[in-house]
Amino acid sequence: MDDISRQVAGGRQIGLFRRATYWLEPRWRDPGWLAFAMNRLTGVIVLGYLVAHMVVLSQLAAGPSGWDSLLATFGSQPFLVGDTLLIGAVTFHALSGARVIMLTFGIGTRHSGALFGLVLLVSAGLTAMAGWAILFR
């Protein structure tokens, strides 16, 4: 740990629980807080899905009998709704990440809150389209 950082800390200690949960403390006046918290939450959700997806894909190793019997389950309504929500999480996470990259390169720094609004709008729209395609087509 570098000395200047320790000096900034000034002896202030933050416990493990606080370090793990500080990002969940609401700051409704700052849209950027919501962007950060939602980016992190959707990242955790997608990571969890990734693990579950790997577990499901492992059934491929059992051949057609192992895999094809699962299709009926994954084609059922609850799973399709889950897929729609997952696409929502992925879409938001991607666009939110793109927002951070844009801000890093100086694009839209005067409108960081409005950019977040745009991210919400576009991801909601894309999720709605995907949901329609998944659930009703």
Binding site: G11, G32, G106
Partner: protein
């Protein structure tokens, strides 16, 4: 506007006794159109409780000393009018800034962050962005050339208080220090830019920022720390440095921690 009574819900924390901290309500008289919030704090100290601890100095937003949380938002109470923050009946809540060690009541200990800014070090005088022209009676063409002024940053630490990340990482350099570093990169004024870059290109430096932008929202002096942190990141990624910065090793070359 006639004077009226206002209840101030103030955080009281005896020095060295965090366990006895809590809110206390003090009532004072105010003319919401005339008074600033700092006037109320001083009135509470003078007329109600002389043990109230708070900081104040210039009373006109040039020193940054008095910054506190007014109803959960970082403000300079010396220039925050009562009528702009008070609804006329609810208590006005005053707390010390976040993400800092509380000395007592509303006073925090700023020394650690201010020492970091001094360690950069941040020169306090900068050039003016626009030309200043002197208009005489004749052709009005007298150009006084480049003028100087003080840096925008008041070192009030409102940005550090507002920063969510600083609330979770005590070693985060924070928006104040990083914005000051960017000012040195932008306008070196004889400083060792490479050294400054080396200080901020780290896990607890610019890369810890999560683009929340709360710091810029609460800054009373148009520093825009968030944009400056992003500017440092952009420079680190693209290698866009002033000519003086020839001593910085490129990102990814790594180094052992100090």
């Amino acid at each position: 506007m006639p004077e009226t009574r206002i209840r101030l819900r103030i955080w009281r924390q005896p020095a060295g006794a965090r366990e006895r901290a809590g809110f206390e309500t003090l009532e004072v008289t105010t003319d919401p159109q005339r008074d600033m919030v700092l006037d109320l704090i001083e009135r509470a100290w003078a007329e109600v409780d002389r043990t109230l601890v708070f900081r104040h100095a210039c009373h006109h937003a040039s020193c940054g000393t008095c910054a506190v949380l007014v109803d959960g938002r970082e403000r300079l109470p010396c220039v925050t009018s009562v009528q702009s923050v008070w609804d006329g009946h609810s208590p006005l809540t005053l707390k010390p800034l976040r993400n800092a060690t509380v000395v007592a009541d509303l006073a925090i200990e700023p020394a650690a962050v201010l020492a970091a800014m001094a360690a950069l070090p941040l020169p306090y005088v900068r050039t003016v962005e626009r030309e200043v022209r002197e208009c005489s009676g004749g052709d009005g063409d007298g150009d006084v050339g480049t003028a100087e002024r003080f840096e925008d940053c008041l070192e009030c630490l409102a940005c550090v208080s507002a920063c969510t990340v600083a609330g979770g990482d005590p070693d985060y350099l924070g928006p104040a220090v990083l914005a000051a570093a960017q000012r040195i990169v932008e306008e070196p004024r004889g400083q060792d830019v490479g050294r400054v870059i080396d200080m901020v290109d780290s896990e607890h430096g610019v890369w810890q920022c999560r683009a929340i932008w709360a710091c810029s929202a609460v800054c009373p002096s148009n520093v825009d720390p968030a944009a400056r942190i992003m500017d440092l990141r952009r420079r680190l990624l693209t290698g866009d440095w002033p000519a003086a910065a020839t001593t910085h090793a490129p990102a990814g070359s790594g180094a052992s921690h100090g």
